[in-house]
């Protein structure tokens, strides 16, 4: 399954800038390649099959929620002392997944990492859907979800406000802000592409739906000017959120007094973990989809290579955090702190701890090797391990600390019930359902942005050729370039 040599742009050669996208596509051909995915009257067979399965799991999720709401939180295995289990584990897991999307779309944009253009739409979509899945869990773990509006500070006849000193309250703001900004960023970035789909639409309905979604985009210079401004501003707005949201999530734990939670390392540790898990999820989704839709020329080996490097870097940070936690526990001289970590590694949940260490620390070490970074199937397997490992990391943090706190008389063991297991499975179903709908109905690669990094984009400026080498004849006639641009609309 390794790539043919002509598709390998992962080399680094001084003085030679590797092309960001491959093939000799004209602007129009890129549109053609991406837009036809959503324009085919029938989705490919594998799409129908996976969509049916995902939808079935979404129904399972809804059924589990209905069961939970009618019977109560007793259907979960939670009880004192372990009052947080799968619910919060899943919440942190899904929120973490989202962070890669925002990092790719906002931070890499501000840092002018142009390779992001091929994958940002895709990763942002993943962010939106992951945050939707994440949002479910805090909402349902309250036990009485019909009172969830109490989480918001609204004027009321009780003259009561939420406890603003509680990190759980900050969480509500962090996650809802994150969702709003991510959604706006995603949508605004999609406007030119939605207009392209509108212009190519063959049916009245598609024309109308994409037309409304495109907000009347006509691609005038003024449109582009405003668009670029808004996009830059939103990127600036989203950038701090990458760091702040998961920091706030970590406060849910760090602000409490529980050994194993009450640690100053938590915010950076959680952010690194979030990016780690997010990139793993991007790879898990991207590798099969790139193959299925033949997008290897847009999402190149170099993209995979870059993402694998980020995976390795953040994996090392997470591994460092695991190690330093033990150091802190020992160095603090605090009996309870030391016991907590002894208990993590050798206590009743040690199996989960060692799964976590293996998946998050040992497995990513293979990305020191270029072959592992550039071979899609190895990368896919590695990213799956990381997904599993990062879920277990949250499980270990949430459950081990709660199950063994200060007084041995308070100790307890938590076992998830079938309802919790099916809820987790169902949340994956919802995630994939939304994702597959996105692949089917929206442009999964930012066509307009990718056109700015193809070699042809910089031809008329002589030596400044944008990204990548242009092999072959350089057409000097201005008309020909404009012709290429004109083609994109057909």
């Amino acid at each position: 399954m390794s790539q043919p040599a002509i598709w390998d742009n992962s080399h680094d050669q001084p003085g030679h800038r590797a092309p960001l996208v491959l093939g000799d596509d004209s602007f129009g051909a890129i549109t053609q390649r991406v837009a036809t995915i959503v324009e085919k009257p029938k989705p490919p067979r594998w799409w129908t099959v996976t969509f049916s399965i995902s939808l079935a799991f979404t129904v399972v999720l809804l059924a589990m929620l209905a069961y939970l709401f009618t019977v109560g939180v007793g259907v979960w295995g939670l009880n004192v002392p372990v009052a947080w289990g799968f619910d919060i584990t899943n919440f942190v897991f899904w929120v973490g997944i989202g962070h890669a999307g925002t990092l790719i779309s906002a931070i890499l944009f501000l840092f002018r990492q142009k390779w992001r253009t091929s994958i940002n739409r895709f990763a942002e979509g993943m962010t939106i859907f992951a945050v939707i899945c994440a949002g479910i869990f805090p909402a349902i773990h309250t036990g009485r979800p019909w009172f969830d509006y109490w989480l918001f500070p609204y004027p009321n006849q009780m003259q009561m406000w939420p406890n603003f000193r509680s990190p759980l309250m900050w969480d509500v703001f962090a996650v809802s802000t994150y969702f709003t900004v991510s959604l706006m960023f995603w949508y605004v970035g999609m406007l030119p592409d939605l207009a392209t789909l509108r212009d190519r639409a063959q049916t009245k309905l598609r024309q109308l739906v994409y037309g409304i979604l495109a907000l009347g985009w006509r691609g005038s210079a003024r449109h582009w000017h405003r668009y670029e401004r808004v996009y830059l501003l939103l990127a600036a707005l989203a950038t701090p959120l990458v760091l702040s949201v998961h920091s706030v999530v970590s406060f849910d734990f760090a602000v409490s007094q529980l050994p194993g939670w009450h640690a100053t390392i938590f915010p950076p540790y959680f952010v690194a973990g979030a990016i780690f898990s997010g990139f793993a999820m991007v790879l898990t989704l991207l590798i099969p989809i790139r193959k299925a839709f033949h997008l290897e020329e847009l999402v190149t080996t170099r993209h995979l290579d870059n993402m694998a490097k980020i995976l390795l870097a953040t994996g090392l940070m997470v591994g460092y955090a695991y190690g330093i936690e033990f150091f802190t526990a020992w160095y603090s001289g605090n009996h309870f702190e030391a016991f907590t970590f002894y208990n993590r590694a050798l206590g009743p949940y040690s199996w989960a701890y060692w799964i976590m260490v293996f998946c998050n620390v040992v497995v990513p070490q293979m990305f020191w090797f270029k072959k592992a970074r550039t071979t899609p199937w190895i990368l896919l397997v590695g990213s799956l391990f990381v997904n599993v490992g990062m879920w277990f990391e949250r499980f270990v943090i949430v459950v081990t600390s709660l199950s063994r706190d200060f007084l041995p008389g308070n100790w307890g063991i938590y076992k998830p019930t079938w309802v919790e297991l099916l809820t987790l499975a169902g949340s994956f179903g919802l995630f994939l359902t939304l994702f597959l709908l996105f692949l089917r109905f929206l442009p999964m690669v930012a066509m307009a942005e990718v056109k700015s990094v193809v070699p042809q984009a910089g031809l008329e400026r002589g030596p400044h050729r944008g990204h990548g080498q242009y092999w072959g004849e350089i057409p000097h006639q201005h008309e020909e370039i404009l012709g290429g641009e004109g083609r994109e609309q057909r």
Binding site: P155, N156, Q157, M158, Q159, M160, A195, R198, D199, A201, Q207, L208, G211, I212, G216, R218, G486, Q489, R490
Partner: protein, 221 residues
Amino acid sequence: MSEHGRSRWVFPPWVNQLRVVAGVALVVIPVYLVVLVGFGASPRTTDVGYAPEQPVPYSHALHVGQLGLDCRYCHNTVEEAAKAAIPPTQTCMNCHARIRAASPKLLSVRESYATGMPIPWVRVHDLPDYVYFDHSAHVRRGVGCVSCHGRVDTMEVVQQVEPLSMGWCLDCHRNPDPHLRPPELVTSMDWVPPEKPEVYGRRLREQLGIRPSTDCGTCHR
């Protein structure tokens, strides 16, 4: 717009008119919601003024306002208990065994007295079941009856005059001074403080050591 021989679908010109509609809606809908929720659905609107018809046309205006009965003559447990006690029929008959003993208005009182079945009075001031209000705690600290129940001595039919919402409770718990009076004058309907109520109440509060709690557990046990 036609650039490449094919027309693009953009919004038709009439959509521009929707901008006005959208602009108006953007202003009107929030105002409407604020008015609806803030005023329309508040207890001040829905509960205040509740004056159910009682099985006996008992007039507080007559008994308290004109005859000068003290509240505690009928609501006799108000200083010791959480509930202020709806009087038993026997209390009515203390007087009405002789006064207007044949009045047709008192038919059901006499009937109740004869059969021993209580008069089904309709409760006017009804707090939610999860609120544990204690009359004695308030009355003994000098919160006048009139502060919550209004001028009962002028009411032919008793009605609710305050919203009895949690926010209304908290208004006083957070700032009790304007509502305090000497505890022996709680039942007086027309008492006015001798100086500024805030100053007078503050002095009373400090003298009596009144510290109204705003903990959840004070009212929600």
